[in-house]
Symmetry: C2
Subunit: 574 residues, 2 copies
């Protein structure tokens, strides 16, 4: 391949290949092209006006990390065995979100391959990888990636990712990938040297905003859209989870997300393979998932934060931060029947009206979860629900996620109530940045109840190691029980069509805030939860003629229109 | 009325009425309320935590300017004589944009009343007032207003504006008002003392962005929407021209502009009177004017900058700045048939793709003009088209604006080719700000052809005086001819239905870039322009059986499918 790079402000661009420099020639629209070619596996880098060498902004591989040279990859060389592969539809999906570095002791793509049978047996249909684009150091969540086209060297690089996707497809698992287009990490971020990738017109919580609507933004959009298409085309990824799209500020007449969706649709038609786009969004804005005819961006789904917050606040009793807006059974009920709890309602936490109704949208347009990497890892100690809830309430939470009208998502190990936390960890090489992250983390939580001294140091390798799943614990109680419970729920979801009928109009919820019970009616299926600390007899006309299908505990008794539920238990009837 | 003010961060709020201070009591949502009442004409101001006094953010009148006390106005006291008034529909409108300070020698609302007959005789249906909200000093364009609820003291205050609107309605003229919701001026801007009216999350070219999507933004939105409703309700204004809505950055699920449109629609239903919202927009984003069902904001119209730029660049030959993207007859043709020239096309000036197609939208959703306050006043010398074009080309420009499918807009005096410029003028009282504006103006244009020394000083009262219309010149040539031409064109537009049939699909344009002629076909009506410096015979099958209705010059000869047009002339046939 002949090298090319976009550097609209450079007066001179050189490539350094195996110690030899050669000049690139200016081409149109700020691009530069080299006449020498590089082969698969060749290392190269660019010099701009004599400065550098810098890695290629579109580097496919950074074997030595974010500051090292780029290595050329010929995507055609990989031998795929997934001919004719089609991902299962989102409507019937069960997603497991995993972090490659901590999913297995090896912390690699290949390590994950060995654990796919576990996911298949559990009933998972889609594996969702936290970001894999090259980020600084060997350990990290991945949201500070800087070489967006390069699968992380410590995870196994391009070949490793391809082997994982190939293996997933062979086992019938689809693969979703988390991509971060709202900002880039601070360390190893050479993009600004190459061109106006960033703009000061808007700010994000994580640094300079990506330039999507100012001068030269066409090329920046092409950079990001090209990245999305690369994962879907060259790595056979089945869909993308778009990180924090609320931080993508773009006032143009053709919003970036709409342009991205159009490009992915075109690729979908070309490949003949279903591709999905799922957005994380803090604005409760259903425009993301409304169809283009209604002025929407036409994305396939968005994460349902309100459902999480309502469920978490109800089960844990926590009311700090954004949980202050939730906590009632009524909120869980609203989430189940309307998807969004804040649909224009005033939010005390935000001190403004928040969101917009999702009227008419089906449940498959939302991803529902009891926890995810953020909800766990943004706690000072990275505690999972399993560390915060009784076993009974954990069973109820799982049942509601798996019988809700939304696409369920589990976070790695959630299925067996993993005892390992998911804490914030980094491996910054720049001492100043490392210290900043360390201090920032302490300041974020220093005032909280835990005390600053107990906030784990993100830079400490032990923080990372502590988060590695312990696969052995599945063999012991209560983990074995929880795993069986999740398997049973996934099987129900797979086998009872009423549970994947995602028309929200068909859903009925009754509840009693005082007695603390909730009854979710999904066509022929009834889910009854007793959240109280004592057993109670719940009377409801829907219970007539129903039979017990699954219960989280023994001692459930059904008699005509009454059900006796032990303390903190849930029963599923049909 | 009892005084009330929003000051969510204050610990103490006092009112100063006639030298006496009294404490306000905290009410809900950050509001404070006083138990003492003020009457019509009473001066008052607020103190926050002992600092001040500051004018009321919602002050209805600032008789002593932006730094003085507020004066209470009882809107019920004015006696209106416009019972049953309905504005003419936009589809058949001809707008004249005026600046109260320079429209007449008096420079007041009352002064303008004396000139309404001129506008009626000309064929104007809508008077559009440049911003009247209290801005610093006695002279200014009005885009740095700070007391958004107070008609400017130098123009005649609240009573003056009501007298003008009342007089307009009596004469059958609707009144539109330019309102600035994207920023506030720097001088006399006390809003930030009262609450989080601004945000640092986004920047505008004119200072801090208005807080429309961060914490406490509900109250800021209510402040602006309350302002819009006040003009429409208490001043009987028929519609608003929303300044530079591209600078209103708002990522919320319920965009401010949509909320504003909904509120105005509700008021429309309540009043039983047509109200319109027209946006100025630099993004060529038809979402503004698409219906809500299609995800649009449902505004009534937007200014068509592309039509202006295409026409101006064609007629003047100018190619500086944004005119570099225009200049061909093809651009004028595209504007006439598709409204927007840049509908996703790459713009050399902007160095990015720009805009989005306006497919399916009718012409009445766009306002078309040969010039406006900005296009004139943002030139160093504030030259009008009349100073830039030959009389022949001026006739052609007027004919194309008045026969285009868009709502025509003239800038005060354009109808008689006024010789007075419209330069940038200010009356800043703060010496540092005055110097900054003076220097800024020189720097903006210093590098341009004119030479810095010749840029008029915005602070010099003579700059303002120079811009006052000279009404006497109408009696002399060539002004009399131009005025008659505009009257004739307005009469045609009023009497020939084909000219207000605004379906863009019905419009045909032919042109010859080399020969420099353009033929615009609007159903039964044909407009033929010869832009060349010599007479030419134009052959076109549309000309068959057509008869001359109006010509800008003598010497037009029509023979079968040929028309002979003198140099720089235009003929209208039917």
């Amino acid at each position: 391949m002949s090298l090319h790079v976009w550097a609209p402000n450079a007066r001179q661009v050189e490539a350094e290949i195996a110690g030899t420099r050669s000049a690139l020639q200016p081409a149109k629209s700020g691009w530069w092209q080299s006449e020498t070619t590089v082969n698969h596996g060749t290392d190269y880098a660019f010099l701009l006006d004599g400065e550098g060498p810098f890695p290629d902004p579109r580097s496919p591989w950074q074997p030595e990390g974010v500051h090292g040279p780029s290595r050329h990859v010929d995507h055609e060389r990989f031998v795929w065995n997934d001919c004719g592969w089609q991902a299962p539809p989102l409507a019937s999906a069960v997603i497991e979100e995993i972090h490659i570095g901590t999913f297995t002791p090896a912390g690699t793509f290949d390590g994950a391959i060995a654990r796919l049978d576990h996911l298949v047996n559990l009933g998972i249909t889609h594996l969702e990888l936290m970001p894999v684009a090259e980020f600084p150091g060997d350990r990290g969540w991945g949201y500070d990636g800087v070489d967006l086209y390069a699968p992380h060297h410590a995870y196994g690089g391009p070949e490793g990712l391809k082997r994982l996707v190939n293996a997933c497809h062979r086992k019938g698992l689809a693969v979703l990938l988390d991509v971060v287009y709202n900002h880039l990490g601070p360390d190893g971020n050479y993009l600004a040297r190459f061109g106006p990738y960033f703009t000061g017109a808007y700010s994000t919580p994580w640094g300079e905003a990506v330039n999507l609507d100012q001068a030269n933004s066409d090329q920046v959009r092409d950079f990001l859209i090209g990245n999305a298409l690369m994962w879907l085309r060259d790595y056979h990824i089945d869909g993308l989870r778009l990180d924090a799209v609320h931080a993508i500020v773009d006032t143009s007449a053709m919003p970036f997300l709409e342009q991205l969706r159009r490009a992915v649709q075109a690729l979908e038609a070309q490949l003949g393979r279903h591709l999905v786009l799922i957005a994380e969004n803090d604005l409760n804005d259903p425009r993301l998932i409304r169809p283009p005819e209604a002025g929407g961006f036409g994305l396939n789904a968005m994460w349902n934060e309100d459902f999480h917050h309502a469920l978490h606040a109800l089960l844990t009793g926590e009311r700090r931060g954004y949980y202050q807006d939730f906590g009632a059974l009524a909120d869980v009920s609203t989430a189940l029947t309307s998807a969004l709890v804040y649909d224009g309602r005033y939010s005390q936490y935000r001190q403004q009206r928040h969101g917009r109704p999702a009227t008419g949208l089906p449940g498959r347009r939302f991803v529902g979860f009891l926890q995810n990497h953020d909800q766990i890892g943004n706690r000072p100690q990275g505690e999972r629900s399993a560390q915060l809830l009784s076993e009974g309430l954990l069973h109820i939470g799982a049942a509601l996620v798996m019988t809700a009208p939304f696409v369920p998502l589990l976070f790695q190990g959630e299925e067996w109530a993993a005892s390992t936390p998911f804490q914030y960890f980094t491996d910054h090489q720049e001492p100043l940045l490392a210290e900043k992250v360390r201090k920032g983390r302490r300041n974020d939580f220093g005032a909280a109840s835990t005390g600053a001294e107990s906030v784990p140091d993100p830079q400490d390798p032990d923080t990372f190691k502590r988060c590695r799943l312990n696969w052995q614990e599945q063999e012991h109680q209560p983990h074995t029980r929880l795993l069986a419970w999740h398997k049973a729920l996934a099987r129900l979801r797979r086998t009872i069509p009423a549970l994947t009928d995602d028309c929200l109009d068909n859903i009925r919820v009754d509840f009693d805030e005082t007695a603390r019970w909730l009854l979710l009616q999904r066509s022929t299926v009834t889910i009854v939860c007793n959240l109280a600390g004592t057993e109670q007899r719940i009377h409801h006309r829907h219970l007539q003629l129903q039979q017990l299908v699954l219960a989280s505990q023994t001692g459930v008794a059904l008699e005509n229109e009454n059900i006796l539920l032990p303390a903190e238990s849930v029963a599923i009837l049909m």
